[in-house]
Symmetry: C2
Subunit: 354 residues, 2 copies
């Protein structure tokens, strides 16, 4: 710290992402990346876009991308906001819709970047405890909130809420902005995107990092009422005119066009997840009913950080959230390939048999 730091720079506690080792590790299951590569079409398209035109600025509105997403979901392009990863989209929405004078709320166990954004923009917030079984209890959320945010499926629990329950929430709180972070929705769940045509208090955030295998390209989006999208654009255009580079825009468009490929690889992930949960059940290892591309487990009698290290000793990176007491002894393990999961099961056997 020095005399030039602003109060915000002094006071915030930045988010700490899962480790990105510079050297390849044997099995990297700590940041929910897709174990399968992007579609060959996406790679091809990136190679083609790597041409002399990169001397020119990108389209500031990422129109081709917004039009593609709109077609995919049956929306208008004015209902789509593009961003440099869904983290950027989330940051913008905190500034576009929330303020130091109104309270927002989210679960005590969810994407741990939400309180970081709130602190960055000095938005007061409450963390509402999940039920004992890690499900979200909307009746516990106070009235008069400016916003409610949650991931669905939730992270790191993987627990999924069906659209009907979210529609009840939207109806019962017309003046609260409901932000549904669908980072993991494509792993076998129904999206609430169609509801943006009927509820102007719904904003859906998605990412191409997980189900589209594009974590390295930083592509995220929000979908909602055109007036919500307009507010996001006002913030973005006061921050950085061009957030998505030319290559990211090209890859993003192609990723939606190659939908069949992605459905196929994500089906494989779903099958591995279900099979892994079944194995865990047979082994007596507690885990949640994850509908995501990760599984959330706890190894009885082993502290979370110790378990993390025991996995690491076997060349497997997983994730633990030691700073959140309630889940300090739980581990989030990304679903990898079939071979990866065989190794994970072997590792768990070794760890619990110690």
């Amino acid at each position: 710290m020095n005399r030039f730091w602003s109060n915000i720079a002094r006071e915030i506690t930045p988010y700490v992402p899962g480790e990105q080792p510079r050297d390849k590790v044997r099995i990297k299951l700590n940041t929910n990346e897709n174990p399968y590569p992007p579609s060959p079409g996406v790679i091809e398209c990136l190679k083609e876009a790597a041409n002399e035109d990169i001397r020119l600025y990108p389209d500031t509105e990422s129109r081709a991308f917004c039009e593609t997403v709109a077609r995919y979901y049956g929306l208008s392009p004015r209902q789509v906001f593009p961003g440099n990863g869904s983290d950027e989209v989330l940051a913008f929405l905190f500034q576009a819709f929330f303020s130091p004078h109104n309270l927002v709320a989210f679960p005590d166990v969810t994407y741990s970047f939400y309180p970081v954004y709130a602190n960055l923009y000095r938005i007061p917030y409450r963390e509402i405890p999940l039920r004992e079984d890690f499900t979200i209890d909307f009746s516990a959320y106070p009235q008069g909130l400016k916003g409610i945010l949650f991931a669905n499926p939730n992270a790191p629990t993987g627990i999924y809420i069906p659209p009907e329950e979210i529609e009840c929430l939207l109806k019962s709180r017309p003046d609260t902005l409901i932000v549904v972070d669908e980072a993991y929705v494509d792993f076998g769940n129904e999206s609430v995107v169609p509801l943006v045509n009927r509820y102007d208090n719904l904003l859906v955030v998605q990412t191409l990092s997980k189900s589209r295998s594009l974590a390295g390209m930083r592509i995220g989006l929000a979908m909602g009422h055109p007036q919500l999208i307009e507010a996001l654009n006002r913030i973005k255009n006061s921050f950085n005119s061009y957030t998505m580079d030319r290559l990211a825009q090209a890859a993003a468009v192609r990723a939606y066009e190659d939908d069949g490929y992605y459905r196929e690889i994500n089906s494989k992930i779903i099958r591995e997840r279900e099979s892994f949960k079944k194995t865990l059940g047979e082994m007596g290892i507690p885990c949640t009913d994850s509908k995501s591309n990760f599984v959330f487990i706890t190894l009885p009698g082993i502290k979370g950080p110790d378990a993390l290290n025991l996995f690491r000793e076997q060349g497997i990176l997983v994730r633990n959230f030691a700073k959140i007491p309630r889940i300090a002894d739980w581990l989030r393990i990304t679903i990898g390939t079939k071979d990866d999961m065989v190794r994970v099961v072997e590792a768990i056997k070794k760890i619990v048999e110690r």
Copy 2:
């Protein structure tokens, strides 16, 4: 606007970048892009990086890029901050170093995004008039400022201040953060980067969009004392863990390695600029002594927006800042290729001879 917009979303006036037409125009000289492509090595390197690894998140710290820049300038990597374009870097620094309780200042004519950032983060600011000849008068800046920002060469005037004058400013205001935006420094000017080793109140911002022909990839950076860089990282890591994607990081490293190529293309731009200024002088067209990759001119007796349209009618896009009264009748024309500039001179002749 609707009931969900925050006060900030309501009150800001976003920055409006120069038009990026979706179709190729005949001659695009409105956003200071480099008329020459990136080095063949950069293109090659992008094609190589477009591989299966893009399923993985990028290095959150962009270490290879910071190390490359550090070597290039003789700094430590801890003195380098990477960003998704220099616009993002500028946005972060407003939040990292300025606050609603302290005044910052910049010229009344400079990069017109500065007041936008100030409004986005509610930073009070003063716009200090340039002298009649468009030079910056540092003696007109009040004492006790939290920050002073300016582009050098300045935009859209192109006027350059030598390092000695900036060093005087750094010495005389040790408690004011001096932000020097060197977006255009590589067009024949000396950078103040070496001064970051001696002055902890200096932050230098640069971009790879102009002199490195990478506008389409969004790569910017700041250089300064490690504690300044740390504050920027705290803000960035509370906003978006991964701002530079894998391909941008790869291209950025290679762009510094291919320095010879860039020196060559930028020399061509400098030669065209000097030749164009000479021609303008012979034609009696007022222009500033730009040291950038653009020239700032005014066509006697022709309103700025009219001049803009007259150029457009001849297939040439240039830039006018009609909203700033003092320069409303001036045009900023990016230096293009030799052929482009021949066409620009022909267009000017036609316009003034009407």
